[in-house]
Symmetry: C2
């Protein structure tokens, strides 16, 4: 099994050449970040991940978490790794500087997130959830709550958890039954049961801060009646030290397909003391603040684990000797050729590369828009950035994870029978990545968000922004070597726009067109976005010193345009078939 190596060189290529991140940081006034700081951060993080986190991944999957008497024990090594993570200040990387955060841009932090997730997804979920909770607290909580909680959460001393789902309420949070009764002192008593709470209970941090969705007594029906509460496991006293144990307890942990080294908890709230975060009944909106970040990180998880799968597969393909090349022995001194000589094995590995590297570029690209939305002083740019984030987030969540799953399945296939055996590590990536297509809103829900709110509701206006950006990039930057790739991308963009027009027209007559087209439409835009990333990679390759890397990028760009972008055609065709056939099937015929 290959030891996971952080793809530093590729991250640097994307940041410094493909997407010119340092220019962007400068433009946003982030004077303390440049490529030197960034390199230092990347290298330190890589060291931590390679030495302390990635080595845990395989064994931790076998060991899983233990649940005894309400306590969750994390797998061996997690506590120490978590401590190292905290000691390095990694939990504070993107945090608000007013409360002890480092205020680093997402376009840089996201690469560190990829490393951690590529090293061990189950472990990575703990800091990921804490970051998410911090974002929501930072954006919506009172100063008092922020002062009390944020510094200890940035330091990792206290961890975070998000408590949304209930047994009968997943996608449809309007159905939740957890309730909150006001107390005399301004706090609330929270009662109810939540499920699927990642790291809702564990032994890595001394306290766990739950952000819980619940309904106040006077709450309106449905999703407009949801409020958000902060419910700590231990209630801090006035001095900020841990006080009383709160009435929030883990009832059990789930047996899952993957991310087995993380605890997925049933959490019981039995008049637990909590504090309102943000306005009453506006808990869902508060949640959405961090959704764009969290959904992007889920996409990043996919890329991270798919990268690990690629590295393992490439090593195996170089070392596994079996049969000879179809056009004669390539390594005649060996008893057989490495399987890397076979075109079909190359097809699998290059598909993984083409998807993973585009995915990496794309999440950094989306993170750049998040940075612009957060840091820009220019209102017009800010609005554009917010719109781009709105459009691209469902794609980043769903397309990255769907393609990561494809990649990991290929990475397993390269191994033949050994890919099915747990000790080789390849099947774990498939099992782990599978959850990224499901949680934080299933990929079907992402697709409905994209085609509904982000397309139909605005009559395709957001897509025009993306099209403008791509067209002006092509106009300004394409070289003679990349002309043909640009042409491919232009045609893809035209098809995407035509398909969008079709959808807008058809959905005006039958709204089910949206549901029928949603997943294919998200894929269609995803392939366009990856095509845009590959064009930019090929253009950037023309001006870097590392000629071998430049050749690899050019070949991969060509491979993407030849072998993956054509998926567009069939997606467009499927979408045009509409909803009639599927809606004609009677409910009781299923």
């Amino acid at each position: 099994m290959a030891a996971y190596r952080v793809p530093l060189k590729d991250m640097q290529f994307v940041l410094y050449h493909q997407l010119n991140a340092p220019q962007g940081w400068q433009k946003l006034g982030l004077d303390e970040v440049d490529s030197t700081t960034a390199d230092a951060i990347l290298e330190e993080a890589a060291k931590l991940v390679q030495e302390a986190i990635a080595p845990l991944n395989r064994e931790a999957d076998e060991a899983g978490c233990k649940f005894v008497d309400g306590q969750v024990s994390s797998p061996e090594g997690f506590k120490q790794a978590y401590q190292l993570f905290c000691d390095g200040g990694w939990g504070a990387l993107s945090g608000n500087v007013d409360y002890g955060g480092m205020g680093m841009p997402k376009s840089l932090v996201s690469t560190v997130e990829e490393m951690v997730q590529g090293g061990c997804m189950s472990f990575g979920l703990a800091p990921m959830l804490t970051s998410g909770a911090c974002l929501a607290i930072d954006a919506h909580a009172s100063d008092e709550l922020k002062n009390r909680y944020l510094p200890k959460m940035y330091s990792g001393q206290w961890a975070g958890a998000m408590d949304l789902t209930e047994p009968h309420a997943g996608t449809d949070l309007g159905l939740i039954r957890t309730n909150a009764e006001p107390n005399q002192d301004g706090s609330y008593s929270i009662s109810g049961t939540k499920i699927f709470i990642t790291w809702g209970e564990h032994d890595m941090a001394e306290n766990i801060v739950h952000l819980v969705l619940a309904k106040l007594p006077d709450a309106p029906e449905g999703s407009r009646g949801i409020s958000m509460f902060l419910v700590p496991k231990f209630i801090p006293n006035a001095g900020g030290e841990l006080g009383e144990r709160n009435a929030v307890h883990c009832g059990s942990i789930e047996k899952k397909m993957g991310i087995k080294a993380s605890a997925t908890c049933v959490m019981n709230f039995d008049q637990a003391q909590g504090w309102l975060v943000g306005e009453a009944h506006k808990g869902l909106q508060a949640m959405f603040t961090m959704m764009n970040y969290e959904r992007l990180v889920v996409g990043i998880q996919g890329v991270g684990a798919a990268e690990a799968s690629y590295q393992n597969a490439a090593e195996y393909a170089r070392e596994r000797l079996q049969s000879r090349s179809i056009d004669g022995p390539k390594y005649p001194q060996k008893p057989a050729d490495p399987i890397l000589v076979h075109a079909d094995v190359r097809r699998m590995l290059l598909t993984m590369r083409a998807l993973n590297e585009a995915g990496r570029a794309f999440y950094i690209y989306v993170a750049q828009w998040l940075d612009a939305a957060k840091f820009s002083k220019n209102e017009e740019e800010k609005t554009l950035a917010e719109n781009m984030v709105a459009l691209l987030t469902p794609i980043a969540k769903a397309f990255l994870t769907d393609r990561a799953f494809d990649a990991a399945v290929l990475g397993q296939q390269v191994f033949g029978g050994h890919g099915f055996i747990r000790e080789w590590g390849q099947e774990q990536h498939v099992r782990d990545i599978r959850i990224t297509q499901i949680y934080e809103g299933t990929n079907g829900i992402q697709a409905m968000d994209l085609i509904g709110r982000k397309t139909f509701a605005c009559k395709g206006a957001l897509l025009l922004l993306l099209a403008d950006e791509i067209e002006s990039y092509i106009e300004s930057s394409v070289t003679s070597e990349t002309q043909r790739l640009a042409q491919n991308l232009k045609e893809a963009l035209t098809l995407a726009q035509q398909t969008t027009t079709f959808i807008l027209d058809a959905a005006a007559k039958d709204k089910n067109t949206l549901g029928a087209a949603a997943v294919d439409y998200l894929d269609l835009l995803g392939y366009v976005c990856y095509g845009y990333m590959w064009l930019r990679a090929a253009v950037a390759a023309g001006s870097i010193e590392d000629k071998e890397l430049a050749q690899q990028k050019s070949l991969l760009a060509a491979f993407y345009m030849e072998r993956l972008l054509p998926e567009l055609d069939v997606l467009a065709k499927k979408i045009r078939s509409g909803a009639a056939t599927m809606m004609s099937m009677q409910d009781d015929w299923f």
Copy 2:
């Protein structure tokens, strides 16, 4: 979790209407089989599977097999279920009547196989391996060996196992090191280590008969020097009773992604006594006798498990209440609509149906050709049948399992977060089906077989046979209602033939074209074959009494043509991009 129900009605539709199996049986002189016998067999088998086998599936996955001191214990309930299976005579269903078999045609037996595999794949592997071993013995062993072994294997008293792979020799069996030294008495002493031996050791039968590939002292190099030996766990004495324990032992069992309730054994042969089966050095050919059957059964495993996944998903979609239909509440009396109302959920379920039902029809169709090859008295028909089997077998193995995996992933997605939790049973189907894409020759190997031996070597002659058959079916049978579907299929067939011509031309210049195109080419022919099945289903639907079933089949046929057959376009496009880009990547760039 839905209890698995055998899809009897669909099996009967395929056998009696879509593919006119009873006519075929009659034509082949199988006078003892008609739809009455067939129904009796189907119904009895369904009872056994639903009552005794399927209920084991979930728990057995959790329990797994135990390995202690060289002994393998199967999960609770397997021994009893195996006994019931044997008592019912199910192991003898397709066996040679001269040795106690029932001689039933594969086109019927295959449906029973789907039931068993749909009920529990791990369990189903035991009779499947025994049947495979019986086939090889029946075709190649001496009368003495046949008399001694076949009756007890048909009865299930003794089980079978196939021992091919070694740690360094999987696809490339020419590299095996297991050796066979001749003994004085005409038997051989076999020594070596085999891996990935499914049910190589267990407690369900009193004896296990291994068919082992090994090399004789004078063996030529490579795959032309492999011989096949029969090595029983207990050596029967002259009276056929169990005698001495043979020196074949299980060294360990693998930890796997799925089919966890089956034992995947490392088998050590330490001068174990064995008997030559077939000619010396011709063991691979002997293995290939049963390959066509075994590979088809692997395809059937996929369909069986994907059917179980569909049933579970459909039940969940009918019962899970969440949100409202996009065009207004469909079940206003309920707190929310069942998720079945959403077009995207229907898209997933109907895709599963369209793939599963075509898969079922297709394996029965291939089985009909196997029957013709075995039972026909007409030499021309026999040759045609053998050629069709040669062409269709790699498709049946790879396309059925790849599409079954797609289906099971969709079936899991329908469940949202619950699909990731083991107790719901959906993720197990994904893990179990995954192996079918890998074992019995990976799907990449199947694709190379199809495009190499079955296409390039015969200059596309085999595909012409299939095209003839489809064209003459269209000419003779298409009705006005199915005219449009026939047109879709015709276009698909034309594209397949054009693509084949391209491949033959391109591969004459660069053989790597074959490897580069292989998997896409297999998919392309697979989609054509499923299209053919759906056309036949739609035609058959026009003349059945059950009008609801007829409507379902017509809708599904339309759905397939609109939503799945278009995949052809992109496959053809990918194939035309050739091998140049992927072969240009230097080995050390991976």
